[in-house]
């Protein structure tokens, strides 16, 4: 009965992981992890990932020996661990991706406002900004410049608003339009306000993400601490009974480890938090 439950828990955990990322893609021959890691695949190469998986399974195997777990319980834990690692790497890469997106948007806005202050024209400002942006944004900007050449009424920042409908972007779009129509006079106060808004946005988002990362680290420390306590518990009990043949002990440790796995996953899931608040993105009918 307990063995069946262990099997069921393993299946449940794998099902949960599979819901987040496709485990099947791990076994494909072609750029296996590209679908998992998205934009930051260069950070996690296939070879390194397999080596990591090997190390993790060895670590879990060693842990199982220390806890005097049976082969059945150990294999369940190793399978869950191996399924968990790609998910954790996926969250790491997502964190990198979120940071990159936010950094690109705010850098673009700051540079754009700085250049717009000089030229008072979006076309020239965009042209100058494209030189400091990466390839992806250069593509967007050149596309926007082409659209302006074709259609004068096209707003050059529409591409950014489509990417992220944040209120700061819409405010800048609105302000730019007004300045181009009425001139820069009396607009410096609003420009200051917009620049301050972006600075506040960056500051608040950075503090928030830092706090989230520190919570993640604290949870991981607690996981480590509870493992140490469990190990002490095991050492005390080994003098009273034969743990390797005690089914209740085997099952309890298995459930405990599964809880720890779930906690680790949830801690890493915090990394998959966007730097841009959804509630600050503009409502659409």
């Amino acid at each position: 009965m307990l063995n069946l439950l262990m099997f069921f828990i393993t299946g449940l955990m794998l099902f949960y992981i599979n819901k987040k990322i496709s485990l099947k893609s791990l076994f494909k021959k072609t750029p296996v992890l590209s679908s998992l890691y998205g934009a930051s695949q260069s950070f996690f190469h296939r070879k390194e990932s397999w080596i990591l998986l090997l190390f993790v399974s060895l670590g879990i195997g060693f842990g199982s020996l220390m806890f005097k777990l049976s082969i059945r319980a150990s294999s369940g834990l190793i399978i869950m661990g191996m399924g968990m690692i790609p998910l954790l790497i996926h969250y790491q890469s997502k964190a990198h991706q979120h940071a990159l997106t936010f950094n690109q948007i705010t850098t673009f806005l700051q540079h754009f406002l700085a250049h717009f202050k000089i030229h008072h024209q979006t076309y020239h400002a965009l042209h100058d900004v494209s030189q400091v942006m990466d390839d992806q944004y250069q593509g967007y900007i050149s596309h926007a410049l082409n659209r302006i050449n074709e259609n004068v009424s096209y707003h050059p920042l529409t591409f950014l608003y489509d990417l992220c409908p944040h209120f700061n972007i819409l405010n800048i779009m609105s302000w730019v339009q007004h300045v181009e129509t009425h001139g820069m006079d009396q607009s410096y106060e609003i420009l200051d306000m917009l620049e301050n808004d972006i600075d506040d946005w960056i500051e608040d988002a950075t503090i928030y993400i830092k706090k989230l990362h520190s919570i993640k680290n604290k949870i991981l420390i607690l996981v480590g601490l509870s493992l140490v306590i469990a190990l002490f518990n095991q050492h005390m009990l080994s003098s009273f009974m034969d743990l390797s043949n005690n089914e209740v002990y085997q099952f309890s440790i298995f459930v405990f480890m599964s809880v720890l796995y779930l906690t680790i996953i949830k801690a890493f899931e915090l990394l998959d938090t966007s730097w841009i608040l959804r509630s600050e993105c503009l409502w659409k009918d």
């Binding site: 609105s174 506040d200 919570i215 604290k218 493992l227 002990y249 405990f256 906690t263 009918d285």
Partner: protein
């Protein structure tokens, strides 16, 4: 004999309650319910209170039947608790929805105000309000449309500004609307100063709202740290019981 007396008293009481449903409706109707129903557009107060009292009485009827059928005290007591729950639940739901909307307003209003401040740079208040309608939050789009129509008739009426979204009784909204009125009423000499004050107030408001959302998320996520500790406590308990059983078996 005693049981029969209790049953007769119960039935009489139930009949009395059933006949005085209207009094019960008034008794259970809280002060804020009509206002909440109006804001949330959830129909008539009369229908609302009638429905919940009716449902509550039905559950009380079930409790009496269970008593007559000599069911355990636990069953009829839980049915009585259920009856109170059935009566109170719609009220609680209303409050929850209202609170959610109020929170939404507190986030969306300063964002909309920011857009308005940009429009104010080159437009009058009325014109800015009119232009801001296209990007106004869905929550108060209709109210804004009404405000614009009323301001077109009487642009200098303070009560129109102060009554805007006053059903939510948000001090921040009222303060912002008063500042907007002052900006509209006072001549161009002082308008820059008024606009600066409005900008400062909105900046603070926006940051406060952002940090409040962040802190809510952070406080919720922190609870995951309890999982390993609870896990190890559970493990400890199970193994303690196991040890005691082993020791008892040895004896």
């Amino acid at each position: 004999m005693e049981r029969l007396v209790v049953i007769i008293i119960c039935l009489c009481l139930y009949g009395f309650l059933w006949l005085n449903k209207k009094t019960l409706q008034k008794l259970f109707l809280e002060k804020e319910t009509p206002k909440l129903l109006h804001i949330l557009d959830r129909g008539d107060v009369e229908v609302f209170s009638k429905q919940r009292i009716h449902r509550g009485l039905l559950v009380i009827g079930l409790a009496i039947i269970s008593y007559l059928m000599k069911q355990s005290v636990t069953i009829w007591m839980s049915l009585m608790i259920c009856a109170v729950g059935v009566i109170k639940w719609p009220e609680i739901t209303l409050r929850r929805i209202y609170q959610r909307r109020l929170n939404q307003l507190k986030i969306e209003f300063p964002i909309w105000l920011r857009q308005l401040q940009i429009l104010l740079q080159h437009n009058t208040v009325l014109q800015s309000l009119r232009l801001s309608q296209s990007h106004a939050p869905i929550l108060f789009k209709v109210a804004l449309k009404e405000l614009v129509v009323q301001l077109e008739e009487t642009p200098q009426d303070l009560s129109l500004y102060t009554s805007f979204l006053n059903e939510y009784q948000s001090i921040e909204v009222q303060r912002a609307m008063k500042l907007l009125y002052r900006y509209n009423a006072i001549g161009s000499d002082d308008s820059t100063r008024q606009l600066s004050r409005l900008i400062l107030a909105t900046t603070k408001w926006l940051r406060d709202q952002r940090s409040s959302i962040h802190s809510t998320t952070l406080s919720l996520t922190g609870w995951w740290g309890m999982c390993p500790l609870l896990g190890v406590s559970g493990l400890f308990l199970v193994m303690m019981v196991q040890t005691m059983l082993t020791l008892l078996e040895r004896r």
